[in-house]
Amino acid sequence: MAGDKELRTILADTCSRLFTAQVTPQLQESAEKGTWSEALWRQVEENGLTLPQVPESRGGAGGSWSDAHVVLTTAGRHAVPLPIAETMMGGWLLAQSGLDVPMGPITLAPTSLHTRLTLIRNGKGWRLEGSAPRVPWGRQAEHVVVAAEDEGRPMIALIARGAASVEEDVNLALEPRDTLTWRGAPVVAASPGPSADRLWQLGALARAAQMAGGLEYLLAQSVKYVTERSQFGRTLASFQAIQHQLALLAGHTAAAGMAAQHAFATMDARGTASLGEAAFEVAVAKVRVGEAAGLGAGIAHQSHGAIGFTYEHSLHFVTRRLWSWRAEFGGESHWSLELGREVAARGAEALWPHLTSR
């Protein structure tokens, strides 16, 4: 374990160095105007950061979910405008379904629980039918990993860019969230695999880590700002009201970070059955981090005052992502409901034994 931990420290350093150097406000602004950051993508991919937890035999780095956690947290902290999370999760779904993982950015569909995509047999292969709204980076991803159904059977399919008609849209963070429509579109490969629910769960897992990273940024940035900025003849940090707010932010950041980390650790611990087995922890993470994200963004903006509300200041690159990610792949209400049902069905006396057995 100590060895793993050291490797993860190295991984974290690699990510931090790369993102600190490359993810500048200029790059973020240009990405928000719709420019694809190809050079950065290539570096991220060459450093093996896009598929950390995908087996080497399928084209990944052969690491663990805890490695994935490190990459996603760091990417979230730096508000990296690339589909790293989507590529990671899509790659894993392909590998899990026995399919090879292509190079290049990958995205996921559907990202809404109410969207059904259908595979239709076509000779030896399939064709894809359906429309998926709010596909992250839909216009730019070279491949889409789709959770579809073939006569009711859950399938994972790989679709190339260009097979869909694209209606562009963005989220609050100005990240692409496009509607992709496939009408008898060609399928590169398909295989029985995890269902759309599981894809959703992976999305929630990824967003939890990204948001936890974003919260770390908010905490560091807010502490920095209040120790530099003076009003009434003293630094903001010397006001107890400000200290109290930052203490709350720190507490939420720590709790959220642990919730996310724990979910990834559970994915590692549960092995190949991990998706179903980690459903509880993933839900906990999305709920806990989501709440922290809402409160944390509020505190960060409150501490920064008007300057944090400008486009010129960088705070919003993270806060707008937190607000967006919080709602994606199920917000707190959705996951609370899932968990509430599960806990209630198990009964009161089972609560503590269940928690301590996880």
């Binding site: 120790t227 203490a247 609370s336 806990v343 928690l355």
Partner: protein
């Protein structure tokens, strides 16, 4: 970039098997104890129970064997604390002594004091109270005025302590007195003493809490005599010692488990398939406040070195407050689901939290009021895990993050009374 986080750690196998053992013992020992009694959490006082726990070797677990301890690991002790709290065991008759009085004596006490008190504490025979706050010295503890004047063979004590939990049923208190008045230096001249609460000159008056419970007391000292050999540590070193003691007090799992019995009752109320009743009774806002306490507490446990009270405050106390909060019942029963997510996501940023919760509730529930209620109940039930699932298992090493906020938070925490708790005293040592 400084970060504020904790590493996950797994409980070692010996701690896990101990958990099963403790759980079984508690099942037998507590039998059909009522929910309301269990809800007293660490406020329940039962000397017989404490003796049984002591006989099992589960008090003074980390202390040296020569003082009646068991030389077990911090994580093993932590598991026992968790199991006792989650079962709602009446631990109050040994809790303070095990948590802070004993460790304080181990650290600062004389050899004679250790031999005299620690084995009896470990057997569950001695109940301790904490004499810190005074009527005019709550938050500003260093301003205490109770005087201990040196006389032949000991000290003569005059003054009043207040909010002294369980003083009326405890054997001893460790109290902070002023042994010397140093002008303009209130932190100097303070000393800690072991006080036999049955001594002449000590009068204990009850303070009944808002729910009718008697835990708090006012303790009056009128020429009470404390022998020389009951001075703890060095005369004049009281402030430094008491700070250490508060760190012991503030680094355990109490906060995040204090409401577990209430949460279990909510689950019971809701039933296996929560319906409208569950929804109406549920604290909507309780669910999502799992505090990181156990991580910080676990720092104490895992490291076994200095406990680290910083940051424990906010999240744990928030959880306690939220769990007892009936929540906002004014949530609209009828609500509309978003037609598409694009606009709502943007609107999301501007909406209040309840509105957002409704907006993003699954469509199928939102359309049907009855099912919407179920959704609410479900969300509320998530409190059961939300408040607990995260902190649990996150026993880990506290990162000594040096930001300005946490120190402040810990201070606030140490000073704030919580008026919303059930029939349970404030943690000893607070006002």
């Amino acid at each position: 970039m400084p970060t504020f986080n904790f590493d996950l750690c797994e409980l070692p196998p010996e701690a896990q098997s101990l958990r099963a053992e403790v759980r079984e013992f508690l099942r037998d020992a507590l039998g059909g104890m009522s929910s309301s009694k269990r809800a007293l959490s660490w406020g329940g006082f039962d000397r017989e129970f404490s003796r049984q726990l002591g006989a099992r070797g589960w008090i003074g677990m980390m202390w040296p064997k020569k003082y009646g301890g068991h030389e077990r690991t911090a994580l093993e002790r932590y598991v026992v604390l968790e199991e006792c709290l989650s079962a709602g065991a009446p631990v109050s008759a040994h809790w303070v002594a095990d948590r802070q009085s004993g460790p304080l004596l181990l650290r600062f006490g004389t050899e004679e004091q250790r031999q005299r008190f620690l084995p009896r504490i470990a057997r569950g025979e001695l109940a301790f109270a904490i004499g810190m706050s005074e009527p005019d010295s709550g938050s500003d503890l260093a301003s205490i005025r109770t005087r201990a004047e040196h006389v032949e063979g000991g000290y003569r004590v005059n003054g009043t302590k207040i909010w002294t939990s369980n003083a009326h049923i405890s054997d001893y208190a460790i109290a902070l007195f002023r042994t010397k008045v140093v002008p303009d230096k209130k932190h100097e001249g303070l000393s800690q003493f072991l006080v036999d609460l049955k001594s002449p000159g000590i009068r204990i008056r009850p303070i009944i809490d808002l729910a009718g419970g008697h835990h708090f007391n006012e303790v009056h000292f009128e020429n009470a005599f404390v022998p020389d050999d009951m001075l703890v540590g060095k005369e004049g070193e009281g402030w430094r010692q008491v700070s250490t003691e508060l760190a012991f007090e503030r680094s355990g799992p109490e906060r995040y488990l204090s409401s577990i019995r209430l949460i279990m009752e909510l689950i019971r109320e809701a039933g296996r398939e929560p319906g409208e009743r569950g929804g109406d009774r549920s604290p909507h806002r309780a669910p999502h406040h799992p505090p990181p306490d156990v991580a910080l507490g676990g720092g104490h446990a895992a490291g076994g070195a200095e406990p680290e009270p910083r940051g424990r405050g906010g999240q744990g106390r928030r959880h306690e407050l939220r769990a007892g909060d009936p929540g906002d019942r004014a949530r609209p029963a009828r609500c509309r689901a978003p037609a598409g997510l694009g606009q709502p996501v943007r609107a999301n940023a501007r909406l209040s939290r309840p509105a957002r919760a409704v907006l993003f509730a699954p469509r199928r529930h939102a359309r049907d009021p009855a099912r919407h209620h179920r959704a609410r109940a479900g969300a509320a039930m998530s409190g059961a895990f939300g408040t607990l699932a995260v902190p649990y298992r996150q026993a880990s090493c506290a990162n000594r993050w040096g930001g300005p906020g946490l120190q402040c938070e810990a201070q606030l925490e140490a000073r704030r009374a919580n008026p919303q708790q059930e029939r349970r005293p404030l943690p000893p040592g607070t006002e």
